[in-house]
């Protein structure tokens, strides 16, 4: 049974890896910079593996969620700032996913966009209310694997594998090409889209919901390393598709519809519907995770009962949190703001607060009082701090680059 659990865990992690921000930025990165940003995808993937492992390990060892630790360690002021920042970013991301889903449904059905947003809202409220945690995790994670059609797509478009391999070596566009700033912006955006904090916080809360103990540490490591690595392959294939499909046509990926059309161009109707379905489950999974993440963080911070393992009646404020987040997210996209713009802002602001949200994880996982023998070893410590420096640099550079590149327009 353990093997099955492990297998499902890996597949779920892989299927849940991609969301609208990654899709948009990966495809655009390929379209503008060919394969030259592949090394950033690898860098970000290893980063999320490192923090995912730490988050899972902390949750399994303490049997306690991460956000109450934030309050204990950072104190009420910094802790509240972290809470507010992470909730706002999660809310923005949720809005982006809902908007993207409405766009997908519009492509498939032709129904009006705004009506589809309300439909999506109703869908999410019902699913999260009635479906158990495990069910949600599995359904959206496993069906998100349909995104694998893009790996097939990339393969079938016969990329120059030599060029692809070179993309994994860091390179900077030559000065005079006029795109250095944009390159830097995309580097940061790609790292951010791969290392979104809600993934680690949701993963840790999930470990608590599944009642992990220190015996599950091996499972944790396997799921995180294999699952996220495969997820990274998925993300990289989107970049390759971006280069091969968008590059020659000089179009901006912009809409998830473009990705679906890319699949259709190669695989026909089957490709189109697989891509649409895969994207739906991936984005829906992300919407649910971000909404629940807001609820987890808020409830844990204030000491309220929380968790899908509790009946809604016992944890009403927790439930109220995710309901309100879904409603507010829907309202954001109902205003008519371009969901792709919302995506852009959510990715940029996410990287700005990344150091705030990852610092508690680093501090706790190193602490031998709390973690005992399971505190960070040399590898986790070194990689953890290395990535902390990386995200700190990215956090500082993000907003200036957003402004200098006129919102990624170059």
């Amino acid at each position: 049974m353990k093997i099955l659990e492990l297998f499902l865990g890996i597949l779920t992690a892989m299927g849940g890896f991609v969301e609208i921000g990654e899709l948009t930025f990966m495809m655009n990165a390929g379209g503008i910079f060919d394969y030259r940003l592949l090394w950033v995808v690898l860098l970000g993937t290893i980063g999320i593996i490192v923090y995912g492992e730490i988050a899972g390990r902390v949750a399994a060892v303490r049997a306690q969620p991460v956000f109450d630790i934030v309050r204990e360690r950072a104190g009420i002021r910094l802790g509240l700032l972290t809470l507010v920042a992470s909730v706002l970013v999660c809310l923005l991301t949720c809005a982006a996913e809902i908007g993207a889903i409405a766009l997908l449904w519009q492509l498939a059905s032709g129904w009006p966009y705004r009506g589809l947003i309300l439909l999506a809202l109703a869908f999410f409220l019902l699913v999260v209310w009635f479906v158990p945690f495990k069910g949600i995790e599995r359904i959206f994670g496993l069906l998100g694997l349909l995104m694998v059609v893009f790996v097939g797509l990339a393969w079938s478009m016969h990329p120059d594998w030599g060029d692809v391999a070179k993309g994994f070596v860091p390179s900077v566009p030559r000065a005079g090409e006029g795109k250095t700033l944009l390159y830097a912006y995309y580097t940061i955006a790609l790292i951010s889209s791969v290392m979104l904090p809600y993934e680690t916080y949701f993963y840790a809360s999930g470990a608590i919901e599944d009642k992990w103990t220190p015996r599950d540490l091996g499972t944790n490591r396997a799921i995180v390393i294999v699952g996220f690595l495969l997820g990274g392959v998925l993300a990289a294939s989107l970049l390759v598709v971006g280069k091969l499909y968008l590059g020659p046509k000089h179009i901006e990926a912009g809409l998830p519809g473009t990705a679906a059309l890319a699949a259709a161009s190669r695989f026909g109707a089957i490709g189109l519907w697989t891509a649409l379905a895969g994207m739906f489950f991936a984005f829906a999974g992300a919407a649910i995770e971000t909404a629940l993440c807001c609820a987890y963080n808020t409830a844990q911070f204030f000491g309220w009962p929380w968790g899908k393992f509790r009946a809604p009646r016992t944890a009403p404020r927790f439930v109220a949190c995710w309901v309100i987040v879904f409603v507010l997210a829907a309202v954001v996209v109902l205003t008519g703001v371009d969901p792709v713009q919302v995506v852009e802002y959510s990715i940029v602001f996410s990287v700005v607060i990344l150091p705030l949200t990852y610092f508690p994880l680093m501090a706790i996982s190193r602490d031998r009082d709390v973690m005992g023998v399971h505190a960070n070893g040399v590898v986790a410590n070194t990689l953890g701090w290395f990535y902390f420096v990386v995200i700190s640099i990215a956090a500082v550079a993000a907003i200036p680059l957003l402004l200098l590149t006129h919102g990624g327009q170059g």
Partner: protein
């Protein structure tokens, strides 16, 4: 956020009590230690009298502008939990009685009664 071991045989009140989650006798989270009431004065012995729970307790700890904002949004409530109610000091502070008797978790209780009217509200989903 540096790690610290308290001196053996002592309790570091800031590190080990303040901002920790409270858990009642039935294992239900019922708030956080938002502030602590100390009884005494300079020249007299100082004792821990009670734990204070609620926005009225953590609000004033924020910078002035935000403290005012919290008060303005109606966050004045404080529940006083006498120190004698504390059963165990660990990562979470365990209390002797259940939350209701101590006046904690009332908001959840009231909201829970309203939610109970909806189908599926009792379902424990695992």
């Amino acid at each position: 956020m540096s790690p610290r071991l308290p001196a053996p045989g002592c309790v570091d009140v800031y590190r080990q009590v303040l901002d920790h989650t409270l858990v009642d006798a039935d294992d239900l989270p019922c708030g956080c230690v938002d502030d602590i009431e100390l009884e005494g004065a300079p020249g007299e012995p100082l004792r821990i009298a009670a734990l204070l729970v609620g926005p009225g307790a953590w609000g004033p700890r924020l910078p002035a502008l935000f403290a005012r904002l919290v008060r303005w949004m109606g966050g004045r409530q404080v529940v006083r939990v006498p120190w004698s109610e504390v059963a165990e000091l660990g990562e979470q502070i365990r209390l002797r009685s259940n939350a209701l008797r101590l006046g904690l978790g009332l908001t959840d209780r009231k909201l829970g009664l309203r939610i109970a009217k909806l189908p599926g509200s009792e379902a424990v989903s695992r």
